[in-house]
Amino acid sequence: MAISLLNPKAEVARAAQALAVNISAAKGIQDVMKSNLGPKGTVKMLVSGAGDIKITKDGNVLLHEMQIQHPTASLIARASTAQDDMTGDGTTSTVLVIGELLKQADNYISEGLHPRVLAEGFDKAREKTLEILEKVKIPVEVNRESLLDVCRTSLRTKVHQNVADLLAEVCVDSVLQIKKDDKPVDLHMVEIMEMQHKTETNTKLVKGLVLDHGSRHPDMPKSLKNCYILTCNVSMEYEKSEVNSGFFYKTSEEREKMVLAEREFIEQRVKKVVELKKKLCNGTDKSFVVINQKGIDPMSLDLLAKEGIIALRRAKRRNMERLALACGGIALNSFEDIQESHLGYAGHVYEHVLGENKYTFVEDCKNPSSVTILIKGPNKHTLVQIKDAIRDGLRAINNTISDGAVVPGAGAFEITANKELNVFKDTVKGKARLGIAAYAEALLVIPKVLATNSGFDAQDSIVKLQEECRLNPEPVGIDLTSGEPINPKDAGIFDNYIVKKQIINSCSVIASNLILVDEIMRAGMSSLKG
């Protein structure tokens, strides 16, 4: 999808023209993104010339799928990427608000207002809006209900409501499972595992780990109960040493001897594990599983298989950490003094085969602090769509925990901010107030577009909301099924505080840059290089 309305040689345009170009570019992008916003927005299915499919509703992803040549567009794209990196949400809103700020600016500048004055107003408005945000935000306790509300709101803008509600539960439960105190969690400790499965679409939380590989020995058990888990980073694989390589310098007998000595060395290692297993498990109902980050060669696998041990090789580096958190025990770098206390525990370890892919489930762990979200779906692009949604859902939960607060959604914040900015405007002297007015107006783009996307008239809706807001001290948002005002608190529609904050900050900065054309030319050019 190419945006062709942009003139790539903008740097030669004179300032006034350049401003016009910036504005039209921002409008152009806004037009493409508008329809995405909110739970009634459209999802775009992008099909490349070669037939590859990408499903997205995310403003940032869309911007990057488009071929952006123009500095303006690339500046906006960077703002939305920054928004995504920092908060994981609010990218479409960012693009819309920047676009709207420029539209408003256009009106004032064409009436002769100097862009500098306008930018000054934007900045004043930004500061004020941040104050308003502090007033509007709602402190929350970290509990299942409050987290579910935010996560559900976010996910319902990304996938079907029924899927969203399921995913929200999975996300919240996984975070609650691994959370310590009321701190945000390390999201790396929630593994997301995809399985492409022709007939099944499902997502579930596994309170343990799912590894994307299985044992490589035909005689190893496919399932074990009551398992000791040995996590290690120790080679159990014979490798030719440097001195034993090449053919120029050694006779074949010399080489044979060295091979034997080297093999012997590995065998001793494996025997250490086997001995421990025998000591702990033989004669009990316990069993033994080895998960190694390094390699295990067929001869070593053979020794382990004979003892009924499941052994996995080449586990992901990060899974070493996850395993320790899920099962207990510690990841060993040597078997020197290997003992029971080093081992973890899982109630059930079993293998699942799907085509040429194997998966190993490490489940029934005691109070795991690392878990896995398992997604099954019929094809790659559906899996990606769900995976993206889960990532965002997890971020929303983490944001809520670190913010300790949420913001009423459905346009409520923007309506309130608009009202208060207009009051504030009258206290400001000089033309900068016009910038504040423009800013206040621009924020309304969010409720307007939410309304339009649900099939309601933007103006009618805004008027209703503003009236209600004047009378009602509670937040007032838009009900997308009726077009009438609602209290988002009652409907459980909440956005992340940090998301709104970031939008407020970045939009006014970027919009100011864009109207101060000289600066943008430089900023735009250097952004092209990056």
Binding site: T42, V43, E356
Partner: protein
């Protein structure tokens, strides 16, 4: 269980030129799979290929390969493997969303060229068709015959493929490697391949060494070394031509000169890194100079190619690679990639040179003994830039393929003057070649491997052999029939280490030193300081010293 026998190799390709070479290489191999069963098969394809099962339960045999390229570089080839999973027609129903609110945006479908179309409807016998691949090939997938595993393709979304691609300098590659989006996925795919394998010989890395891929690939090699040990052979490649040489304005000419300089810088940083992290690296280029500009093309007898076409020059390098690497992928030896890198790199001489003779020209009515007796100059032509192979104190590993033992010499009853040659006592091709080398080199170590299979050069291999090359690669005095295409040729290739390699490094050092680094803001903006540059130069200089002759082998 015998651990010395075979063992798998993972191949990784970085960049568009490396992928052109790689494409030819996989094509060459897969074309040779079709040979009839009674034909001798001395190559162990399991070394570079893996067996798998697709969703339909069909057995697949695909390259154990990861490749990386930029967005837009695939042409009409879908990113999703069609070998696994069906072609999916886009429809609203596949989206987890209310169908009425799904907006399908389809780009114009890209047309496949005739060769690709014929491959697609396999019913069409391809042999009759005439293709114009010289014209039709825009990107490597246009002449791709092999089919890939879903893991293989990795496309970088951040940078667009094309003449003025912004992925142009070394540090960009390193940054990209570190980005979570690229790294997590790619590192996992490497691990998936390694995990599958019972015994891994090591890694072959084909890389573009003059653009951002120089940094990406070397970061990857660092990772391989840290994670899996040190058996890594790298083939840094220099394209035979750059599109910016077709400048039209003075400004474009100027830009092209600047690009030449930053390509030299990329090469210097790249080689410096390979020196530290690979087990062996062999720079490859079909041009003589390589560094600032590829330079004049290397010539081969009976072979006419156009260096402006990657489709052509890539085929030359692929022929060399397919032949050179035979050493560690034969059925009846236990010689591994590690052995090769140990044998070839005494005294930390990690860099080595390669050479090629394509086709190995043996007259249809002659024997090898006469052929060698009349041979003038070196047996093979170097394909490492700025490198002259000497005859003194060399370590050389040669591979000759496609000359059968019955072409060695005439039986004594009919031998005539052949009998007077001292080489007549040699009983095998290998013996005779080793004898020949011992007579033409001094205080050198020479090793020869002889393989039966010729190099397959059927379409999509380009038609680069002249009319005196016969269908099976013999040289005839009169032109072959116009309808009889060459289907295979004998080839000789060599790997060399010696003082000439040191001179190659020195020439790169000299070029890189001449550049006013401070003027290249791009590097500085990407975090490469003057000190990094000086250190890199110093390292290259020290490295060159390992090759000085007073070190005795």
């Amino acid at each position: 269980m015998n651990f010395n026998n075979c063992g798998d190799i993972l191949t990784i390709q970085f960049g568009h030129y490396a992928n052109c070479v790689g494409t030819h290489w996989w094509n060459i191999q897969e074309k040779s799979f079709n040979y009839s069963k009674n034909e001798v098969q001395d190559i162990n394809h399991d070394v570079l290929y893996r067996e798998g099962v697709n969703e339909k339960g069909q057995v697949t045999f695909t390259p154990r390969l990861l490749l990386v390229d930029l967005k837009g570089s695939l042409g009409a080839l879908p990113e999703n493997s069609q070998l696994y999973g069906d072609v999916i027609e886009p429809s609203e129903a596949q989206v987890e969303w209310e169908p009425a609110r799904v907006d399908i945006k389809e780009e114009n479908k890209l047309q496949k060229n005739k060769f690709q179309q014929d491959l697609e409807d396999e019913g069409n016998s391809q042999s009759v068709a005439e293709y114009n691949l010289e014209n039709d090939v825009k990107v490597w997938s246009d002449f791709l015959y092999a089919r890939f595993h879903p893991r293989t393709l990795n496309i970088i979304k951040e940078y667009q493929h094309g003449n003025d691609s912004l992925f142009s300098i070394y540090p960009m590659g390193g940054d990209l490697w570190k980005s979570e989006q690229f790294n997590e996925d790619f590192v996992d795919k490497i691990r998936n391949y390694v995990e599958e394998s019972d015994f891994l010989q090591g890694f072959q890395v084909l890389l573009d060494s003059t653009d951002g891929f120089s940094g990406l690939s070397t970061s990857c090699i660092e990772h391989l070394r840290d994670e899996y040990g040190k058996n890594i052979i790298a083939f840094p490649m220099i394209p035979s031509f750059y599109p910016d040489y077709k400048f039209q304005t003075e400004e474009e000419r100027h830009q092209s000169l600047i690009k030449d300089s930053s390509r030299v810088l990329n090469l210097a940083f790249c080689f410096n890194n390979l020196r530290e992290n690979s087990s062996l690296f062999v720079p490859l280029c079909t041009g003589k100079n390589g560094w600032r500009q590829p330079g004049e093309k290397r010539k081969f007898y009976h072979c006419e190619y156009d260096p402006e076409l990657y489709y052509h020059s890539g085929a030359i390098l692929a022929s060399a690679l397919d032949t050179l690497t035979l050493k560690y992928r034969l059925k009846h030896t236990s010689y591994t990639l590690r052995d090769l890198s140990v044998d070839l790199t005494p005294q930390s001489r990690i860099a080595a040179a390669a050479s090629l003779c394509l086709p190995f020209s043996l007259n249809s009515d002659a024997e090898l003994i006469d052929c060698l007796d009349h041979w003038e100059g070196p047996l093979t032509q170097t394909i490492t830039p700025n490198c002259t192979l000497g005859t003194d104190r060399m370590i050389q590993l040669y591979t000759l393929r496609g000359i059968s033992e019955d072409r060695l010499k005439r039986p004594s009853s009919k031998a005539g003057t052949q009998k007077d040659l001292p080489a007549y006592k040699c009983e095998t091709i290998r013996e005779m070649l080793e004898f020949y080398l011992s007579c033409t080199t001094f205080t050198s170590i020479n090793n020869v491997t002889v393989v039966d299979s010729r190099l397959n050069v059927e379409t999509p291999f380009p038609k680069i052999f002249d009319k005196f090359v016969g269908q099976k690669g013999n040289i005839f005095a009169s032109p072959r029939q116009p309808y009889a295409d060459v289907d295979s040729v004998p080839v000789m290739a060599g790997l060399h280490n010696g003082s000439g390699v040191g001179e190659m490094l020195e020439s790169l050092h000299t070029q890189a030193k001449r550049i006013k680094f401070a003027r290249f803001h791009q590097f500085k903006n990407a975090g490469v300081e003057m000190d990094d540059y000086s250190e890199c130069l110093d390292n290259l200089f020290d490295f060159r010293e390992c090759y000085e002759d007073n070190y005795f082998i």
